[in-house]
Symmetry: C2
Subunit: 289 residues, 2 copies
């Protein structure tokens, strides 16, 4: 299996944009027609999520390289939600998209192995978001198992929520916790670089502070970045410059609500609205060469 960073760069260059479409299917925001078709039960919501996300995938597959399903929304529907997630991931892969499963997992030893198997063997995601709080030995099972199938990881370093700094910016000696985590990411990244020079362990870095983004990019020169908080959460394209090299490489930029729900539920032309929102985001972001 080829290296995650090489597959990622290959697809990003083919589409020419770092835009990642976040698949966060919030029930109350879905087009009313889908809500009505399946009914408001757990199983009905799961079918509506599957139909909606499949439609979004078909719409954006010619435009973008990566989608990021948010596991929480599928999990909240119980086992039938997980079936929908499975179908959504397989639809995306069949359409040539890379899939980052946003599940922010972490645990230790054989429990971390079980999460890695879940993400990479059962759901067959190309990459998984993970939480670093438990330390390097909790990351090792994810890199070990991920590497057997060419999968990647995105470690939470600095998130995009208003209170992110409370613990992430905890100051120890001459640098912040998030900087210490970034240094650890670089040590994991350098274990296994691809031909592109990037590693298979990347980092989640919020788009909310350009200065912090620049500092963290400096500490993680070979890490593919996943930048949330673009669009609905307030991040702007000009703030992202430090994430990219001169050819627009090095990061994917996620937008979820801004692309999925730029319409009211009663709007009948919701598919056109999604296409327009995706095209607008692509115009705002740098091109990948």
């Amino acid at each position: 299996m080829s290296h995650f960073a090489d597959r990622l760069l290959d697809r990003l260059q083919a589409r020419g944009t770092p835009l990642c479409v976040g698949l966060d299917p919030r029930y109350v925001s879905l087009p009313r027609s889908l809500q009505m078709r399946h009914g408001d039960t757990l199983a009905g919501r799961a079918m509506a999520y599957e139909e909606f996300c499949s439609r979004v995938i078909d719409l954006v597959a010619p435009l973008v390289a990566v989608v990021k399903p948010q596991s929480a929304f599928f999990e909240a529907l119980g086992p039938c939600g997980m079936k929908a997630l499975w179908h959504v991931i397989h639809r995306a892969k069949a359409k040539g998209l890379l899939v980052v499963l946003d599940a922010k997992r972490n645990d230790i030893a054989s429990t971390a192995e079980a999460y890695a198997e879940m993400a990479f063997m059962v759901y067959q995601a190309d990459a998984l978001t993970i939480n670093p709080y438990l330390g390097s030995d909790s990351i090792e099972p994810f890199t070990r198992i991920g590497r057997t199938v060419g999968a990647g990881l995105y470690v939470l370093v600095r998130t995009s929520n208003p209170g992110a700094g409370e613990f992430q910016a905890w100051p120890g000696g001459d640098h912040l916790l998030q900087e210490k985590v970034a240094q650890a990411v670089t040590s994991w990244t350098r274990q296994h670089l691809g031909q592109s020079g990037q590693g298979d362990v990347g980092a989640v870095v919020g788009a909310t502070s350009p200065r912090e983004l620049a500092r963290l990019r400096q500490l993680m020169p070979e890490a593919p970045l996943l930048i949330p908080g673009y669009g609905a959460q307030g991040g702007k394209a000009a703030d992202l410059q430090a994430a990219f090299d001169g050819q627009g490489r090095g990061a994917i930029v996620n937008s979820s609500r801004g692309i999925l729900f730029p319409y009211e539920p009663d709007e009948r032309n919701w598919e056109d609205a999604i296409m327009e929102a995706a095209q607008r985001a692509i115009r705002e972001l740098p091109a990948v060469q």
Copy 2:
């Protein structure tokens, strides 16, 4: 719905022990008869997990107050694993046990809400383990939704793995990150104390260092503690003293492998071995009065 800490104390006093049985069904460790009965497919493994955990629940329900299913093992079997988890949780509740879902979730805003709905509304766990890395605003959706149904939370403060200190013990000014997290836990705990004087936001604190345990207990006087790492991971009963008051109240102590798998897979009397292991752990731990 009554307060989590009050229900917990009530059940602990009824059983007289702080022992929590961890439901970590590792396939290769299961009794061979269960492996053979269901076959080695995802669906077969899920049925074996459900049958094994149900049998463990029936065995330990007269002895202990709490079980802690480890979500990762069920998730690693895909949607059918989640169905098994659902049945296991409902079996445990029907037998009068409290259920702590060990899923170490976290995310922000409406995504955190979705995880809380998953744990408390869909799977109907009595408590959930969560990861603090994203900060207080990522905890609020869990406390808000948990409190509508009288559910509790256990925040990871200090875990039991060898590398736990790498980030958790990051020193900022005059205290460690884990101590800052412990202070935050106390602020969440004090938002909603039960009649017992304990809160519905507790903490996971590893059993591997008695001094650290004492320090963290001092910073979280009203937090119910969940102590992993007992037994198989090297923690000893004498090391736990600081977690408890003079009446054995204030903490639950988890043992998973030590109780589930004190036998080889070919052993035919595995149920007797589980009962003996649970009774031995109960004798070693303080009694709850």
